[in-house]
Symmetry: C2
Subunit: 252 residues, 2 copies
DNA sequence: ACAGGAATTGTTAATAGTTAACATGTGAAT
DNA sequence: ATTCACATGTTAACTATTAACAATTCCTGT
């Protein structure tokens, strides 16, 4: 039915930020390009996307893509982020208190979430704005100074906020993982916040892109034994999988 | 010179939200359409606009329209908000510590600001994301729970944050003003934050839409004597202007 | 002041994407 | 079974965009 296809096209564009018509033609080989055009026209009228020559862009994405550094990162490994987000979203159930980290993987996750009764804390303003679309979801932001590169809030206030809060599930993104250094990231304050979150959360779900496995970043914020679930877009290298199992980590 | 034209084209698009190439050709009859195309291409690379078939759209405008979909405001009195923002932006000078309020008027202001060394505090995540585009501007968000209607953070944390902060200029938006009730708004927690800000700020610039004069909202957060400057899109009614003068308020 | 080079602008033709109009198919309601 | 509405497909006409090259202007160093 046309609605399913339109919904799926919309989801794809929201996750990827942008499509070419040729790409849609590949993904939907049993409908004509004219139909896909009409779908885009429909989504444009709905205010979800904006059509450009040769394809379309997500409006939500555009607002977010104002920062060059950020943009660049968003376009790397889109498929991986998409896959990880799809796995992560399946773990979310209503009536919980969540932490959702900053970063593009988490933004993908936020975009795939549906309207349900949740209490969500995040240090990322763009993710907060995405989540607030769902009427039943309560969203809180940690305060603090906004890092232009990572779009993350940090500082005394951010950490202070977390201390008085209970978290059922924490979805944390790592910029790097190695057996030696564990999960690490590139910003001192972010690492500090992640560490605190991991200490407070009942369940820690770590998300890491397969291309980041066996790499290191300056600040380690967790080890395998601190996480309950590890999500990656591809199968983990055997050595890493073995270590994870030894630490009792569920691999998705 | 090409830069002047590009700047002027950009301003035109930002104000109007959207242009057709044909329209630009009329406005700039002494350059070829190819040059105008190249200008649009340049502005697109700068992240100001997005090119669509036959013309271009302002990205800022698009994000605003997107927000309007959630908040259902903004379509009201766009002209007024633009006028107010234009007046307000002229008061901003480098090397200051500012507070910029939430709301669509403030969003307009944020969009018109330029890159300069500023420290800005705001309770509005959308405004923070707008301001962070300027590399020299340091942006902080008050933490707290995000109000879906007003896109404003509030709660214990928001107020706590402000207490340890110095503010040179506070740009505050009011949803209503009347001689009896002063400046008021529709949310208890927002009013509380505004009150605190006004107490702490060295200079208070109040912005109010002419259509909101002589109206009331439930929560009063300031009186004329608390503000230094009052910005409105049109001339104030004589009675209000007189009162303002008596309280030593500068009217813009 | 002037030569050389870079940046900007203009012109045209080829290309590619979009639209419009009409044809076909599909399914639900009467 | 017929009709109507709606989604889809097909084609051709149209329009905007790009690319490539030419002309011009605007600097900069001598």
């Amino acid at each position: 039915m046309s609605n399913d296809r339109r919904k799926s096209i919309d989801e794809y564009i929201q996750a990827k930020g942008e499509v070419r018509l040729a790409e849609l033609e590949e993904r939907y080989p049993n409908v004509s390009s004219m139909t896909l055009r009409r779908d885009l026209e429909y989504l444009e009228r709905m205010g979800k996307i904006i059509r450009i020559r040769g394809g379309a862009k997500s409006i939500a994405h555009l607002s977010m893509v104002k920062e060059a550094a950020y943009t660049q990162r968003m376009h790397e490994n889109t498929e991986a982020k998409f896959t990880i987000a799809a796995k992560a979203v399946s773990l979310i159930q209503p009536d919980r208190s969540l932490y959702i980290d900053s970063g593009t993987t988490c933004m993908c996750l936020a975009q795939r979430m549906s309207n349900m009764n949740l209490y969500v804390l995040t240090p990322a303003p763009n993710i907060a704005l995405e989540l607030i679309r769902h009427p039943e979801t309560k969203v809180s932001l940690t305060g603090g100074q906004l890092n232009r590169e990572t779009l993350t809030l940090s500082g005394f206030n951010a950490t202070e906020f977390v201390k008085n809060l209970n978290i059922d599930q924490a979805f944390v993104a790592a910029s790097a993982f190695s057996a030696d250094s564990g999960f690490s990231c590139g910003d001192f304050y972010e690492a500090e916040l992640k560490r605190l979150i991991i200490k407070k959360a009942r369940e820690v779900i770590m998300m890491v892109d397969s291309s980041k496995i066996n790499t290191n970043m300056p600040y380690t914020f967790a080890r395998l034994q601190n996480v309950n679930t590890l999500i990656c877009d591809e199968a983990l290298p055997a050595a890493v999988a073995k270590l994870a199992q030894q630490s009792g980590v569920t691999i998705l």
